[in-house]
């Protein structure tokens, strides 16, 4: 099972040490983007090369690894990365959030609260939150140094002015430890509050951009907003069709050509756990019609349709 031709966790010891040194700096300055010597990995960019390098640098023989992609353990990205580490390290892997000591994630934070014994590693495509607003890299570095973050609020102002609300639903900018503006990676803004004062160590790696940053345990993380337009997370009118959860982040899947949608938990392990605990959902898709609410029908959604 274990590939003998590679060093433990694929990278050589010196590279891992370099990355760990960069990580120490990142932990010391929460939210600050530390440059690091990103290596070519046997994955394409966009597949989580930054996260994989962090995981490879900190994984030990006794770790238990869990890999999440969009909340699920059994999607392509998660399966491949988990198999990569199984083959190059031989460490145990799990799908159960509570049992994992090291969790690499893409696009989600698990619904189950994390503990001090766990490390969460994020895959980050674009680490610079100001990138779309200020194209000059030198200027963004200066803006971080002087904590000039008015520009981000100009963007949020513009959202409210044009759309009536802050439209950003994922990668919603946060201020870490009341100092650095940070991109939380493309997690839904639903997960932003979970970063705040989280007991687990949170590490972020961007392989293509060659940056890593961290949120140490128990660090305040605040989502940017306006006093009269406070930060809000997504809400759903429906519960999970499989486990009946109303508190979790739901995926919306179109299941037929009539517009029926199935709402299920995005965190597959959380959903499974609840079903094992005896929770049951409606097991049915809901039909949503794209109608404007002022038509004579009582509601825009009604239960029923194909399961």
């Amino acid at each position: 099972m274990i590939e003998q031709h590679y060093n433990f966790a694929f990278l050589d010891e010196r590279t891992k040490k370099r990355i760990r040194r960069a990580l120490l700096k990142a932990v010391a300055v929460p939210g600050y983007q530390v440059p690091f010597g990103s290596r070519e990995m046997p994955f394409a960019y966009g597949w989580g090369t930054g996260g994989v390098q962090i995981t490879a640098s900190i994984i030990g023989q006794s770790d238990v690894l869990k890999v999440i992609d969009q909340g699920a353990d059994d999607t392509t990205n998660a399966v491949n990365i988990r198999r990569f580490f199984e083959r190059t390290t031989g460490v145990a892997s799990t799908e159960i959030t509570r049992e994992a000591t090291l969790i690499q994630t893409r696009h989600r934070i698990p619904e189950v609260a994390l503990t001090e014994a766990q490390i969460l590693v994020y895959q980050v495509p674009m680490p610079e939150p100001l990138a779309r607003l200020e194209p000059r890299r030198r200027e963004t570095i200066k803006m971080h140094a002087l904590s000039e973050y008015g520009l981000m609020h100009v963007r949020l102002y513009e959202d409210i002015a044009q759309l009536g609300a802050i439209s950003r639903a994922y990668d919603y900018p946060v201020l870490v430890n009341a100092r650095y503006l940070m991109s939380p990676s493309p997690i839904p803004k639903f997960d932003n509050p979970k970063m705040h004062m989280n007991p687990a160590l949170q590490l972020f790696g961007a392989g293509r951009e060659k940056r890593l940053y961290a949120v140490p345990p128990y660090t305040p993380v605040r989502s940017l907003d306006f006093e009269d337009h406070p930060f809000e997370v997504q809400k759903w009118e429906h519960a999970c069709a499989l486990c009946g959860a109303t508190e979790s982040y739901l995926d919306e899947m179109i299941v037929d050509d009539q517009g029926s949608r199935l709402f299920v938990c995005s965190d597959s392990n959380y959903c499974e756990d609840r079903r094992d605990g005896g929770h049951v959902g409606t097991q049915q898709a809901v039909s949503l019609r794209n109608v404007v609410p002022d038509q004579s029908e009582p509601g825009i959604s009604s239960a029923g349709g194909a399961a």
Binding site: L146, V154, E158, A161, F226, E227
Partner: protein
């Protein structure tokens, strides 16, 4: 009591290297600017007007001499006296540039954020200073748009859809929103047609008077200098050849170049 000097240039000069040799864009400039006073800098193209303006606004560093500014201290109505701009940290200068100063660019596009609406442009400085209330920001943007005679219905439009004159007004509003004491203007009316120019100048004159703004206006248009400025500097080849009260300089030019400049104005 005579108020203190607001901005003071002392032998200020800036050189650019050309073929390994320094070429002075402007040199040996001396003047004091008092609060509420408007100073015009006139001269032909390439005479170093804009370089001088950039020196004064600390966008360029002096190669010779210095520029001093009376920085407002944290307590209101108290000042630290004149401070050499070269001695200030970049953080202080950037703060100064977006609170106590304004800079109106010749091309409004350079001074505006073209990818956000007019309202966001006006609110940007306030947000940079920590304003976090959308409703109040919007109120402020509306009131400033009104003051610079912009149609408030266009608050959510991109500046790219504004006419040239409107963009220039928006740029002025965006600079004045933090109530600066000193505004630098680089050819604010160039490129606008004559009637728009006249209205803009009228508005500028009113605003300068009402807000007790000090201003340094770079222009090659002597009429603009006459209308706005109390004093003027005449520049040629990087040197100040004549300075004095606007009316004196224009009506009784002493230097040969100033005489040439005044006599070459076309009068319809």
């Amino acid at each position: 009591m005579k108020p203190g000097v607001l901005l003071s240039a002392r032998q200020a000069g800036k050189a650019f290297m050309q073929n390994g040799k320094p070429r002075w864009a402007c040199r040996d400039v001396n003047f004091d600017l008092y609060p509420g006073e408007v100073l015009a800098v006139v001269g032909e193209s390439g005479s170093g007007k804009t370089s001088l303006l950039r020196l004064l606004a600390a966008r360029l560093a002096c190669d010779e001499g210095s520029v001093h500014y009376e920085v407002r201290s944290e307590q209101a109505n108290e000042t630290n006296g004149l401070t050499d701009l070269a001695q200030m940290s970049e953080a202080q200068l950037r703060r100064l540039a977006r609170t106590d100063w304004g800079f109106v660019e010749q091309h409004a596009r350079d001074g505006l954020r073209m990818n956000v609406s007019g309202g966001a442009n006006v609110g940007e400085r306030l947000m940079a200073l920590g304003a976090r209330h959308y409703g109040r920001l919007r109120q402020e943007a509306l009131s400033w748009m009104e003051r610079v005679e912009l149609d408030t219905a266009r608050i959510d439009d991109l500046p790219g859809t504004y006419s040239g004159g409107m963009q220039q007004r928006l740029q002025i509003a965006r600079n004045l929103v933090t109530q600066p004491r000193l505004v630098f203007m680089d050819e604010p009316t160039t490129g606008l047609d004559v009637s728009v120019q006249a209205r803009l100048l009228d508005m500028l004159r009113e605003l300068v008077d009402e807000l007790q703004l000090a201003a340094v206006v770079v222009t090659h248009d002597l009429a603009v200098a006459r209308l706005l400025a109390q004093r003027m500097l005449v520049m040629k080849d990087g040197c100040v050849v004549e300075q004095g009260l606007t009316d004196r300089v224009l009506d009784d030019p002493q230097h040969a170049y100033t005489q040439l400049l005044v006599s070459s104005v076309l009068t319809p």
